[in-house]
């Protein structure tokens, strides 16, 4: 039983929370991060491992760019590269409508300073002879890449600790209360943290906290269904995606092919997620249809983790509209791993400077109009169904 008084309390030890603790600690703010399990135990630690800007919602692109810059400097910043490699990201079209989508997106991306190279049917056949005839075009972002999701959050947390942050694992929050202008957070182990600022980085559970402060959001719990092959000769250099997103895969130089597509089973209350065999088999079929050479590979493991998705597939990042001192960064809708490193920088600016140097205006919590069900949403907050 102890009481700790701090400047900032952070709930959630995923990518957003750990990066926030790190940036706050670098700027000498006192902070305590509370994680109910291990840092990176859910979506941030068990995702696909893509680090891409291509395909992001324009509202997210400035954050993705900032994150990409941080990814490239991880060794100097936190002492490890988390196996980040700039392999490029190749997004594939399987029909002409999708090809038109790629061409249009390349225009949009250019406005944000991101150069994409659209590759036509003949050129893509020449460049990537291992792709199937299903592929009619591609769009390549040379600057994108991939990294090992298991390593990022623990590395951020270790760096944050070294910089002075108080990172607590196995610290489940049992109660959050307002205390004057500040917050009192109690954990199941009987400890108490008092802070003037609270950062809600609780991922799929972030909606519970925002609802507690009168800001419900229509958050859905999702488990991305992942699989990995045993090592095979290295031939897939870029991180591969498709329009529509129903399959994606990447190969690491040691030979394993990591692939995903579809959703597993997620139970946010029981804190349990499982890959679903039917979904796995469907993803394997799609992967083989895209890259026929994968047919000779063998799957050795499947997994998933819990993620929070919002209806427009972009997160909530910004100050609370109801509660001074409360800041949200949750519901990353499958993008938290890639953009998480920038979220720390943004949140530390919001908390300490009152504004972010990266535009986050489209990510406000009030875009849902206080709805907690998709059916009641204002139009602009519905999915773009990319």
């Amino acid at each position: 039983m102890s009481t700790t008084t701090t400047d900032v309390a952070i709930i959630g030890g995923g990518g957003a929370g750990c990066a926030t603790a790190l940036h706050l600690a670098w700027r000498k703010a006192r902070c305590v991060l509370l994680e109910r399990g291990f840092v990176g135990g859910q979506a941030s630690g068990v995702n696909y491992g893509g680090v891409r800007q291509q395909g992001r919602d324009p509202a997210e692109l400035p954050i993705a760019r900032r994150a990409r810059e941080i990814w490239g400097r991880l060794p100097e910043l936190i002492g490890t590269d988390c196996e980040f490699s700039v392999s490029g990201h190749l997004k594939l079209a399987r029909d002409h409508a999708e090809e038109a989508e790629l061409v249009a997106y390349a225009e949009t991306a250019r406005e944000y300073g991101i150069e994409l190279r659209v590759i036509g049917r003949n050129a893509i056949r020449a460049e990537y002879p291992w792709l199937s005839d299903q592929v009619v075009a591609g769009s390549f972002c040379a600057d994108d890449g991939q990294a090992n999701p298991r390593l990022l959050c623990p590395a951020l947390a270790r760096a944050a600790r070294r910089a002075g942050a108080d990172i607590r694992e196995n610290a489940r929050v049992s109660d959050i209360a307002r205390d004057g202008d500040g917050f009192v957070i109690r954990t199941a182990d009987g400890n108490e943290v008092r802070s003037s600022i609270l950062v809600n980085a609780a991922g799929a559970w972030g909606g519970e906290i925002s609802a507690r402060f009168g800001e419900p959001v229509p958050i859905e719990t999702i488990a991305p269904n992942m699989a990995v092959t045993e090592p095979i000769p290295y031939f897939i250099k870029p991180n591969l995606g498709v329009c529509g997103g129903n399959v994606y895969c990447r190969q690491i130089p040691r030979g394993n092919v990591i692939l995903g597509g579809g959703r597993g089973e997620a139970d946010a209350v029981a804190m349990r997620a499982r890959a679903l065999p039917e979904i796995t088999l469907a993803a394997l079929r799609r992967a083989v249809a895209l890259v026929p050479r994968l047919a000779s590979a063998t799957i050795i493991r499947t997994w998933t983790g819990i993620e929070g998705y919002l209806p427009d597939d972009i997160p909530v990042v910004g100050p609370s509209r109801t509660t001074p001192g409360l800041f949200h960064a949750f519901g990353f809708s499958g993008h938290g791993f890639a953009i998480g490193p920038a979220i720390g920088a943004i949140m530390s600016e919001l908390v300490l400077d009152g504004r972010s140097t990266t535009p986050i205006g489209a990510l406000t919590i009030d875009r849902f109009g206080g709805c907690d069900k998709v059916g009641e949403l204002p139009d602009r907050a519905r999915s773009r169904n990319h």
């Binding site: 623990p154 394997l284 083989v288 063998t298 799957i299 493991r301």
Partner: protein, 458 residues
């Protein structure tokens, strides 16, 4: 309202066969799924058609092997037998299989998991050199193919199987270069009274040791294996005697085994809690004396849930089947069940004495040299594991897996897991069980991607 789906039995070893027998006698037609091409399990594995050695390969256990085979053969028309079929995943009420490279699924209500055991390894420097076999593998080679793994085979490890296989190699005409047991004679001698409960099994064990000694086989007890020598193939085994003297023997094969561990992955996927067996220093799936688990409709039998040997597995199989029937409100013969429980309890006490007589050498495992490979699938050595423990604070085994890749490869930690937890625990100064159990992740055996494609073609 459709009838309840037939019960499913996974595994056709002694436990699975006895379970099937009881269910058939009760008028049910169970589905029996087995990885092997023929019934009998690993212990009573059958030689391929056309092999002539017959029951002699089972030695003193020939009568039991024959009984199990005959029982199963008499059942084949009354069960839905699916050999050469691997269960790669289990979900509530649903099994996912692969056979001849084609995926299939089936619905189940009640299931008996009789998934058997596998060898336990302590990594001795050089254990991945060609010519090194798991002890069980060396025995399978003899039973199923009539082959010895080397012209001069050295046996290293501990446990009753070490002596049994060495004896079987000798009887089959092989040359046993040495038997190097890590357990001192005195440790075994202290369990004499407990071991006497084993009756004929214990007497047989003494006979194996006596025969090996009489034939002049080099035997050492309480030794520490130092290294397996060789580059492209095994050429020698070296050890340090209890006296401190170095021992060495030339050989072209080494059979290595430190007891057995349960194949509990399917039980884990079914949601059965895992519990730490301190005597065997291994995680096993929790069940009651009749094989019932806390998960409705899931029953466990044999070495797949707790290592106790083939005789216990036969009893377990019958008890689990009776428990399943009783839960379906079928009347079961109470007296027979009580008799089975009594016999099983006796075997449990014998097993406890065996565990104490041949303890898993946890200290030896924990002391694995930094540059010795622990996880051969992912090429993780003991030093890297210790670094994950100390530098990355991996205080939980799945955490250590995430950081170091230990247990992340083809075998999913089935080989390296029990060693990895000893190394981690020693490095962290924690009790081994505090690190937890490696979680099973489907597929529990590698799944060819072509199998997924072929399902679509149907």
């Amino acid at each position: 309202m459709s009838a309840a789906p037939p019960p499913v039995i996974v595994g056709a070893g002694p436990a699975g066969v006895r379970a099937a027998s009881v269910l058939v006698a009760a008028g049910l037609r169970p589905i029996v799924i087995d990885e092997a091409p023929a019934s009998g399990g690993q212990i009573y594995r059958r030689a391929p058609a056309g092999f002539m050695r017959g029951a002699a390969v089972y030695g003193s256990e020939a009568a039991k092997a024959t009984a199990i085979h005959r029982t199963f053969d008499s059942l084949v028309d009354r069960i839905d037998y699916r050999p050469q079929t691997t269960v790669w995943n289990l979900r509530p009420g649903r099994l996912y299989t692969v056979r001849d490279g084609v995926c299939d699924e089936l619905t189940f209500g009640d299931i008996v998991l009789a998934t058997g055991a596998m060898d336990r390894i302590v990594p001795i420097p050089g254990w991945t050199i060609p010519g090194v076999y798991a002890l069980g593998g060396a025995q399978i080679s003899l039973k199923a193919q009539g082959c010895v793994v080397g012209a001069r085979t050295a046996f290293v490890g501990t446990g009753p199987l070490l002596w049994l296989v060495a004896y079987q190699y000798l009887k089959a005409g092989g040359t046993v270069a040495a038997v190097v047991d890590t357990t001192p004679f005195a440790t075994k001698a202290r369990q004499l009274f407990g071991l006497l409960r084993g009756g004929k099994t214990f007497i047989n064990g003494l006979r194996y040791v006596a025969t090996l000694r009489l034939k002049g086989v080099r035997i050492t007890e309480g030794a520490i294996p130092v290294t397996i020598v060789g580059s492209t193939h095994v050429t020698a085994l070296r050890w340090r005697e209890a006296s401190g003297r170095e021992g060495s023997v030339d050989c072209d094969a080494v059979a290595i085994g430190f007891g057995l561990k349960p194949e509990s992955q399917l039980a884990d996927l079914a949601g059965v809690a895992m519990r730490w067996n301190d005597g065997q220093r291994v995680w096993e799936a929790a069940r009651d004396r009749d094989g019932r688990t806390a998960v409705e409709g899931v029953y466990l039998a044999g070495d797949g849930s707790a290592i106790a040997g083939a005789d216990a597995a036969e009893i377990d199989g019958a008890l689990a089947a009776y428990a399943l029937l009783a839960d379906r409100r079928v009347t079961v013969p109470e007296a027979a069940v009580a008799e089975l429980r009594t016999r099983r309890a006796r075997l449990t006490r014998f097993r406890e004495a065996l565990d104490a007589a041949f303890p898993f050498p946890a200290a030896l495992a924990a002391a694995t040299a930094d540059d010795t490979l622990v996880c051969r699938c992912e090429a993780v050595n003991a030093g890297e594991l210790r670094a994950a423990a100390r530098d990355l604070d991996a205080r939980e085994v799945n955490r250590a897996k995430a950081f170091s890749r230990v247990g992340m490869g083809r075998c999913q930690g089935r080989v390296c897991g029990p060693v990895a937890v000893e190394i981690l625990a020693a490095a962290l100064g924690m009790p081994t069980q505090a690190l937890g159990a490696l979680r099973a992740q489907p597929p529990i055996k590698p799944l060819p991607m072509t199998a997924a494609v072929r399902l679509a073609a149907e």
